[in-house]
Amino acid sequence: MRRSLALKISVSGVRGVVGDALTPQLVTSFGAAFGTYTGAAPILVGTDTRPSREMVHHAVVAGLLSVGCVPIDLGIVPVPVLQAHIRRSGAFGGICVTASHNPIEWNALKFFGSDGILLRPHEAAELTDLYHQGVFPRVGGTAAPIPREDTTAIAHHRRSVLAHIDVDAIRSAGIHVAVDCCNGAAYRATPEFLRELGCRVTIIHADPDSPFPHDPEPIPENMSDLREAVVRSGADVGFIQDADADRLAIADHEGVPLGEEATLAIVTRHFLRRDPGPVVVNVSTSRMLDDVCNEAGVRLHRARVGEINVVQRMLEVGSRIGGEGNGGVIAPNINPCRDSFVAMALVLEAMALSRATIGDLRGAIPQYAFIKEKVEVRPRDIPASLRRFRDLWRDADLDTTDGVKASWPDRWIQARASNTEPIIRLIAEAPTEADARVLLDRSREKIVAA
């Protein structure tokens, strides 16, 4: 297989493989570029638990200090905690050192503005320009700022999330939760959060100094440890977070993964019951959300893939619930970003208020076969491949918000170029797996045909 790109500078930040393209020089300059972009001001800095965190952290701090910014070190924190803390602390922005769900050899910088939201595409473009220009307003030795620490972010975030949740109902339900933190950034915050909700907590993989026990992406194939923990402990529900705790996937009381697409559907259905309003998801999110919105009689908007695209659309249309189908729940009034803590609290609230099991909540929403595939395509062939895909399905309802999505009343298939690898991602959803396979097979044939 050809080597995938070891560096990716995009709207989601700067990602790269440690020991390869993600060098301390590159990170230092991006730290200085971000400090140039925000101006000399306090900037929050946090990390996940990857072994390379100190290297990247010190590079960011050196870059920020060199242009007069005051780095405020939050230590190891979930990324939604850092985002929530930016606005509360009055910082001018934040940088999180995390490659999220990527494998352990990766690390990355995520950049946030003073509103705690990922830099918007045009802002990210300005940052990248500053980096490439490479001229930074350095401060002299007599004006050198001194970094500070702030250890209050996790507690503040917990309080602010729970202010929006019926805590008493959850407490009286006494739910037993098994949770897999993937030895990630939530290792401390998650058990504290769940205990505050009166849950009995069975926690696995909560050691920040151990390597990831499995790939950090919260998908069914990485959930066998959680399954075992649920069964062994007799938990009512299982939760799994990715390394920076923005995404959440769920297992039922038998430890069976519900699929990461189920998280947003369950949360949204519950949320709309107490607060109906428009919903925003990305174009790749399951049609379960169409069903949930139809049931509640609210409008569903679909934005391009990427947290910032969804958040921006939510703010535009006044949406209070939405997110991405990969387990990223966004409730902007609580925290305007993907937040697995918000997701956990809403799932538990749904269970407590409806007195239903997690299996019941899942069963109340239609099931579809949802299949993802990668097709390797040389970058220069990608546009032609996408054109052939579009021609193949020209009789369907076509949407080109992000790649090409062909929809019919009960099924759809989407082809889009990956932001991170020389591949085209194919996603199909249909009533049965056989239906979905037909769509995928016909599409793949067209995409690879030279």
């Binding site: 301390p24 230092t28 290297m55 010190h58 701090v61 050899e105 401060v139 030795g141």
Partner: protein, 454 residues
């Protein structure tokens, strides 16, 4: 002009100008590769910019796969001590040392705890120029270890070199100006352990300098004024990273920084064989003391790296420079102000004398130092004009031009750190020193004018 100086005393520059974090990261990567991804000790001084410099040094070292032990705020000799006691591959001191607050620097120490010599420095520079860095994969990245406890072993190690009982019995009172630098904690501990009473000045390790940090006579006026109202047996000014020392008489009169080496040398000759090693610009006081003890006085190019390299190969009794940097042998691998202070107190205790008596034992010579601003591209032409100037003198061209006569010497050289021509003259009489100095300055000025310099 951008201020950056790369050489055996490390990477020195003006922060925010030529000294950027990217440059520091590059040099830390080069040093990490030079150390073969081994253990590297990192310490820093108290300047605010040292925080940024430290982070840049750490990220470069970590990325190279080094095991970094961060020993926090401490002196250069403490870093040297920890390098030797841990068997580390090297050390980095983040310190602008005697430079003013605009500057900062990295000093590189080898596994012996001494500054890299010229050859080893060249190797680091080769790696830097070729960008031949080593990038550890994620699985080869090691967590930084906190080594604050290791740094605390430095003062006990200094105490082992001294006759603590003798010093304690005198219960000296020491006025000490820390320049708000890295030696505050270690200095206070040492003075207390030696049974002395301390009168501290500028002892807030904030890195805000009340005066320029070099321990020159002019920079010790504050200490002198303090001593005129609060009596002390001796006054000392410590450099920001604790390598250089300046001395003040009990009446508040600051001594030239040239005194530290000769004061220690006489005692060192009694205890240990070997020559004294110093640089070409250092006062002849130490040469006279060496002659009395029938020991050679070897002179090297200016710079601690050169002096210590020669001292270690020659098995010197003591080494140092006229800037207040002294390395008592065989213990010190870098100039060490606190070991020098302890040694001076020990001499006072063992010889049952006052500090003034001790100074009186050093032959009195007369020195004039000065400099002339000349751009770097002109300085060598001007220097060239001096080469044949004094045919009656012994001429040494190792570093600029140095002439010596039985009663005097004159050194004219380009500064390592600034676009300056440095002129030093020393003689048995003040008249002869003035004559040599004034004549040289006038000549240099005239030569500079000829070359179109104002």
């Amino acid at each position: 002009m951008r201020q950056l100086k790369i050489g055996p005393s490390g990477i020195r520059g003006v922060v925010g100008d030529a000294l950027t974090p990217e440059l520091v990261v590059n040099f830390a990567c080069a040093f990490g590769a030079y150390c073969d991804a081994g253990t590297v000790i990192v310490g820093r001084d108290t300047r605010p910019s040292s925080v940024m410099m430290r982070s840049a040094a750490l990220t470069g070292l970590i990325s190279s796969g080094c095991q970094v032990i961060d020993i926090g705020v401490c002196t250069t000799p403490a870093v040297s001590h920890v390098v030797r006691t841990t068997g580390a591959s090297g050390g980095i001191c983040v310190t602008g040392s005697h430079n003013d607050a605009r500057w900062n620097a990295l000093k590189f120490l080898g596994p012996d705890g001494a500054l890299l010599n010229a050859a080893n420095t060249e190797e680091v520079l080769d790696i830097y120029h070729a960008s031949a860095y080593v990038r550890a994969p994620w699985s080869g990245i090691r967590r930084v270890r906190d080594g604050a406890d290791l740094a605390r072993g430095y003062v006990p190690a200094v105490l082992e070199r001294l006759d603590v009982g003798a010093i304690r019995s005198r219960a000296f009172c020491v006025a000490v100006d820390y320049c708000n630098g890295a030696a505050v904690a270690a200095g206070a501990n040492l003075i207390e352990a030696l049974g002395c009473r301390a009168i501290p000045l500028n002892d807030d390790p904030s890195g805000e300098f009340a005066h320029p940090p070099a321990p020159s006579r002019a920079n010790m006026r504050q200490l002198g004024a303090l001593m005129r109202s609060v009596p002390a047996d001796v006054g000392v000014a410590l450099n920001v990273d604790g390598d250089r020392i300046g001395l003040v008489l009990p009446d508040g009169t600051p001594l030239s920084e040239e005194y530290a080496l000769p004061l220690v040398a006489r005692h060192a000759f009694v205890r240990r064989d070997g020559p004294v090693v110093t640089n070409l610009s250092t006062s002849r006081m130490v040469e006279r003391i060496a002659a009395q003890a029938k020991r050679p006085c070897l002179r090297t190019v200016v710079g601690e790296g050169h002096v210590m390299d020669r001292a270690l190969t020659e098995g010197a009794a003591v080494a140092g420079e006229g800037n207040g940097g002294v390395a008592v042998q065989p213990h010190a691998r870098t100039f060490d102000a606190l070991l020098t202070l302890g040694t001076i107190l020990e001499i006072m205790a063992l010889e049952r004398c006052s500090f003034a008596d001790l100074c009186a034992s050093v032959p009195e010579l007369h020195m004039r130092k000065g400099e002339l601003a000349i751009p770097p591209d002109q300085v060598y032409r001007v220097l060239d004009g001096f080469r044949e100037r004094h045919s009656d003198a012994e001429t040494d061209l190792t570093d600029g031009v140095r002439f010596s006569w039985p009663d005097a010497w004159l050194h004219v050289r380009a500064s390592n750190t600034e676009p300056l021509l440095r002129v030093i003259a020393e003689a048995d009489t003040p008249e002869r020193a003035d004559e040599l100095f004034d004549e040289t300055i006038a000549l240099a000025r005239r030569a500079a004018l000829t070359h179109g310099i104002r």
